[in-house]
Assembly symmetry: C2
Homo-oligomer: 221 residues x 2
């Protein structure tokens, strides 16, 4: 029985989930939800995800939504396989949770504002909102300066191992760097840049990009 992930491979939150499943070697099937056609706002979708957001997963008779909660669940369920994405002690997990929450509460709203104003609006044929994107970019740079200091102290955000704290940042940051003309935000931040090259060089993340590029829907480790 494979996990069914309802979403679109190019969307940020489904990418967080499928990256986690790949790191943990969990077979899954991606069930395409057409966001352009607003399928995520249809009643049959909202029966499963009442806020009309992707992704949700169906795993036998267990269903779950919210990408970070899904990632935590599989990271915990398969704790003994692959990288220890939640740390090995209560204190290590707490530090993973701290940086997961920094991403959710501080980093993501700002990164999303950049992606929305500088990429999604133009992709929909609307004007790029330059001033809003620039204001968000200044905030993101201030956050990245904190990350630079942290990454000078430890190889990954929550310590010496790759965890969900790092993984959760990848999808939105890739859009910021590659699609919003904002790669300069990382300039002069050597530890941040080394971290970014390291975590996006992982085979697991490259596999996520394969899903985006090929339209593949099935993963079997």
């Amino acid at each position: 029985m494979v996990v069914k992930v309802y979403g679109e491979a190019r969307a940020v939150c489904p990418q967080r989930v499928i990256h986690c499943l790949i790191e943990k070697g969990v077979p899954f099937e991606l069930v395409h939800v057409d966001l352009d056609a607003m399928e995520h706002k249809r009643p049959e979708f909202m029966e499963k995800q009442p806020f009309g957001q992707v992704p949700y997963v169906v795993d036998g008779d267990f269903e779950l939504f919210e990408s970070r909660a899904i990632a935590r669940y599989y990271a915990s369920k398969y704790a003994d396989y692959g990288p220890s994405l939640l740390g090995r002690t209560a204190e290590e997990r707490a530090k993973v949770e701290q940086w997961l929450d920094v991403e959710a509460m501080n980093y993501n709203p700002v990164a999303f504002s950049i992606v929305w104003n500088a990429f999604i609006l133009p992709a929909r044929g609307l004007a790029r909102k330059e001033a809003k994107a620039a204001a968000a970019a200044r905030k993101l740079e201030a956050i990245m300066e904190v990350y630079e200091k942290q990454l000078a102290k430890s190889r990954y955000l929550a310590g010496e191992e790759f965890t969900l704290a790092d993984l959760t940042h990848i999808p939105a940051t890739r859009y910021v760097v590659e699609n919003c003309n904002m790669a300069h935000l990382m300039e002069g931040k050597q530890h941040l840049k080394a971290w970014w090259e390291n975590i996006t060089g992982r085979p697991g993340w490259k596999k996520v990009m394969e899903f985006v590029e090929t339209g593949a829907t099935k993963y079997q480790p």
Copy 2:
């Protein structure tokens, strides 16, 4: 050795942490950080919390910030004492995490917008931003309609027991209901109202309110 919580009892995020500590019977000392005097933006504070936000905790030589991460840590560390705030199985915890993330990603930004525009600005002698507060109130009501359906199915958000999923909502919602003239948002939502009366009637939450009203700084169960 007691846990030191750096923050202010009237602030939303410290309330989330001290409520959790009280539910779990963990002695703590509240170390006052004067937000009006911007003490949370001073270098010595930002050495501990690099984003300049309250609270952070110091527990012997272990330090942690982000209120939801702190709550998860103590709920997990003292899993066997008091209410099972994270569920009892992996699937129960996953549902708790789902609703924790709904609060963090959907509910909190909207509730905070109401509190900011309808309470904090006037409290600082600035004009209440009526249109912004009203727009956020419409969004919060739509979210509350989803909660009403969920709470018709289970007594608490994540099931039949009080968990962090419920606890995390209380501080900001209290400001919305009591200080922003928005109690009408709950009207006609009988399950939501019963849930709200239930969770704010807990001795643990009443103790939090005592800290706000009396200026007490020490908790010993």
